[in-house]
Amino acid sequence: MASLTDLSLRQALEGLSAKTFSSEELTRAHIEAIEAARPLNAYILETPEKALEMARASDARRAAGDPGALEGAPLGIKDLFCTDGVRTTAGSRILGGFTPTYESTVTTQLWRDGAVMLGKLNLDEFAMGSSNETSAFGPVVSPWRRRDDTAPLTPGGSSGGSAAAVAAGLCLGATATDTGGSIRQPAAFTGTVGIKPTYGRCSRWGVVAFASSLDQAGPIARTVEDAAILLKSMSGHDPKDSTSLDVEVPDFPSFVGRSVKGMRIGVPKEYRVDGMPAEIETLWEQGIAWLRDAGCEIVEVSLPHTRYALPAYYIVAPAEASSNLARYDGMRYGLRAEASSLTDTYEKSRAEGFGEEVKRRILIGTYVLSAGYYDAYYLRALKVRRRIADDFTEAFGKVDALLTPTAPSAAFALGENADDPVAMYLNDIFTVTVNLAGLPGMSVPAGLDAKGLPLGLQLIGRPLDEGLLFSLGGAIEKAAGFSLKPARWW
């Protein structure tokens, strides 16, 4: 039998059900793998004692004949989800030793279904970044390396810890969040599956806010089916989040393996951007061919406002962030710098507590919302956002889903894009449109580039049509036969 940390979530749940191993054994194997993988810096906080306690409680529930849908499965939690009694940092110094006295709705639902928490996963500070390099706890190092090259690579961001942990066998699946691509780009960089569901599908309650009209939680997993199992547990209406959708949660796993024959798949011509590596273009063509072979009809569509999505995002997201992050004032929780006056205390606490990228975005947000600029920037961006959403609505009149690359390149080296914020922002060029429109988007691993690094394809669906994405993702996964794992060097 394969090592316990090589199993898919599905296989692990079957093994637990068949009593081939206990949750305690499974959890212990993951704790050992995490200890051995500290050079990756994927976990900000390991919680082995809590994990073993939860695993033993899970084994007892199973023995009593009352297993949940995730019974006994050890998971990693992005450190943006508040966890009761367990320090939560958002990858920032400003939260200090903040230890929530409440549990996020999404994680509450995972524990309700029997999952076990291994620890809190590293991320870009406040989820602002595409390489995990803005974390106050240092960057995550990808378990993947270029062939014959030991240069440390980024696992992507902001959910870099989640993606690296799933790829390296440090958990069976992980929670993540996606404001502009933070689930899908790291999934593409690490050969894992990541889905950002429809805005409102997962409750945002207890998730540290970045840009509230864009933030969505979702899973990163090893297979499409695993992602479906996790998303089913994470989803559902929550009265504590006023944007949570009061709709039924479909049985997502049952969509994996369904025929996609007759589905119309749109290929947006504006996603063929200048300077895109030929390998990405080739992979995209391959994905089109796979779906055509599976019986889909391929239709070229136009999303004319695509190129304006990133600039609009870099007004909307910083504006919302500057407002959301105003709460970090050092008064009720988090870091407080000592100063003589109240204003100095605010200014010094925030100067010491926030990293450079977070400060940049707060300043941009404050600027575009300030008197005299509101209409020229913020209001204009909201109107462009409507144009982008309308492009999708029109496309979905002709097609059932869209197929695009997930990211414009494979993983890059740590430090490679660090000096140019705009170059870093361009990582999200194919993913950010989906957040602006509130649509579901999924990245599926589809192949390797010439240097041996994973590449992902993105599927975009109509609102609440995650089910079809799981069917299409399953078809791509089957055709691609992608089962590669990074060669262990750590």
């Binding site: 870099y314 200014e347 940049r360 941009i364 909201l382 409507r386 914020p421």
Partner: protein
């Protein structure tokens, strides 16, 4: 350059972030670079377009105006940088 040093100082003050003098010029360059790139939004025809303020098309839900939680000062104060009894201690606000 869209954003000069004086604007950086003003915005940093509004955002309550003490930026050291040595960071003002670099920030002016970085923020200007970002804002110059954002300027391309001026090309988009937004005539008659309603601003999109939410990705959810349903109206905000209402609930009864009643207390749902509370009366637990220990949980509220658990992470206070400084406390005295059931109060947060903060720097002097009123002169």
């Amino acid at each position: 350059m869209a954003i000069d040093a004086a604007t950086v100082r003003k915005v940093a003050r509004l955002a309550r972030i003490a930026e050291p003098e040595a960071r003002i010029e670099p920030l002016a360059r970085e923020l200007s670079g970002i804002m110059d790139w954002i300027e391309q939004l001026a090309e988009v025809n937004i005539e008659g377009v309603e601003p999109m303020t939410s990705a959810v098309s349903q109206p905000a839900p209402l609930r009864e105006d009643v207390v749902t939680e509370g009366g637990d000062p220990e949980r509220v104060l658990a992470n206070a940088p400084r406390r005295a009894g059931d109060f947060f201690v903060v720097p002097k606000v009123v002169e």
